[in-house]
């Protein structure tokens, strides 16, 4: 079934792209208009944020210098840098029960099955089907989505499981896991499909003691996505000390 699906998607991708474009233009204009109405508050907020970020910038510069000197001392091998392919979203599943996107880039652009897909804000999902110039992304909110993640700070590992709802659930957390509300969740890189450290969202505890993740990416509004290259060799990522 998969080749037929990819073929059909490929055939219809240009026309689906044209049908999607006006909607995406309207969405972009609507966002701009909404932005104009609360320009004043936004400027005030940005000024505050800018002041805070300047402090962070100083801190980052200091830490970078410190980090560099420590790395030189340790002779550590760093994670390879990732490269991206940016693609436009041409279609979605149009269905409340399956959450996927079709993007206008494929094998010809270096996209492979299994690669991680990001929006500007964070992880969106992974590539599940790739044709020559079109690929399907399974969103992390989909029922079938399972992504190995890690909670920053506690370094607690879990599997992010889609529920078809807006908030995916953290599964396989040990019962005594100490998870702070609002902690950042990033990809753990286990299994070697995703590079580690890609931002996913923040943890929230819901009734019943279950932990859900408020994802950074706004999957409904996403127009362009970035497909991340697979790590070169996941086994070499923990760092090797050269003799």
């Amino acid at each position: 079934m998969e080749p037929a699906r990819v073929q059909a998607a490929q055939m219809f991708a240009p026309v689906m792209g044209s049908v999607s474009r006006p909607f995406q233009e309207i969405a972009a204009v609507a966002e701009d208009v909404a932005g104009v109405t609360n320009l004043r508050t936004e400027v005030a907020m940005l000024k505050q944020e800018n002041a805070r970020l300047r402090e962070w910038y100083q801190a980052a510069m200091m830490l970078e210098a410190e980090n560099k000197s420590l790395q030189e001392l340790l002779n550590i091998r760093l994670d390879p840098r990732h490269s991206f392919v940016t693609a436009r979203v041409v279609a979605d599943s149009g269905n409340a029960y399956v959450h996927s996107l079709l993007v206008a880039a494929g094998i010809q652009d270096g996209i492979e099955k299994g690669q991680a897909v990001l929006s500007g804000d964070g992880l969106v999902g992974r590539i599940v089907e790739a044709g020559d110039d079109v690929a399907r992304v399974l969103l992390l909110t989909d029922f079938n989505s399972r992504i190995p993640v890690m909670i920053e700070g506690s370094r607690q590992k879990a599997i992010l499981t889609g529920t078809n709802d807006e908030l995916p659930v953290l599964k396989y957390l040990p019962p005594d896991a100490n998870v702070a509300d609002g902690a950042r969740v990033v990809t753990s890189g286990h299994g070697g499909l995703f590079p580690p450290g890609l931002p996913v969202g923040t943890v929230e505890q819901i009734e019943g003691g279950e932990y859900v993740v408020k994802v950074f990416a706004n999957m409904d509004r996403v127009i362009y996505v970035r497909v991340v290259d697979r790590p070169v060799n996941p086994n070499l990522q923990s760092g090797i000390v050269r003799q």
């Binding site: 037929a4 699906r5 089907e129 409904d220």
Partner: protein, 164 residues
């Protein structure tokens, strides 16, 4: 040539079904445009969309949307089959009754698809998207029917105007 127009329109509905609208909650709330066409033609011009075409249309939606094959196809064929059986009754009814009929069909389809997904995954899927999708489906019916009605009028040998 004029006979092709409804088919192009249905194809446009298929594309609308899968087009990325990039609007808030669009994935959750996007209605099933094709279902309206299936419902309308099953009542007012069943020869235009026989079960085979309806099935093929469903498969196309399945393939493009990336859902399990047959998910929409079987839904559409079932709706077509049931509505075709009731068409003599529905044809003579005022607009509101037809709309009410669609409300019933739309809710039943949502529930059926929700049930199929529950069985497929052996887990209870979220209810809210199903409810939202049903409501948007109900409210998108009048404008879509208006378009279908205009196309219907263009067709040769229209036996009866759809709505008085």
């Amino acid at each position: 040539m004029r006979l092709c127009i409804p088919h192009f329109l249905t194809l446009a509905f298929v594309l609308l079904n899968v087009a990325a609208m990039s609007l808030p909650f669009s994935q959750m709330m996007k209605p099933d445009f094709v279902l309206v066409a299936v419902f309308y033609w099953a009542i007012f011009r069943p020869t235009l969309m026989p079960p085979v075409v309806t099935f093929g249309l469903g498969i196309l939606v399945d393939v493009l949307a990336g859902v399990p094959a047959g998910f929409h196809a079987l839904t559409y064929v079932t709706v077509h089959w049931i509505i075709r059986g009731q068409r003599r009754f529905l044809m003579g009814q005022p607009y509101l009754t037809v709309w009410l009929g669609y409300v019933f069909v739309c809710a039943a389809v949502s529930l059926l698809q929700w049930g199929v997904m529950a069985v497929l995954h052996l887990e209870i899927p979220a209810v809210l998207p199903m409810v939202l999708k049903t409501f948007t489906g109900i409210f998108v019916f009048p404008p879509l029917v208006l378009v279908l009605l205009l196309v219907h009028r263009l067709l040769p040998e229209t036996k009866k105007a759809a709505f008085p």
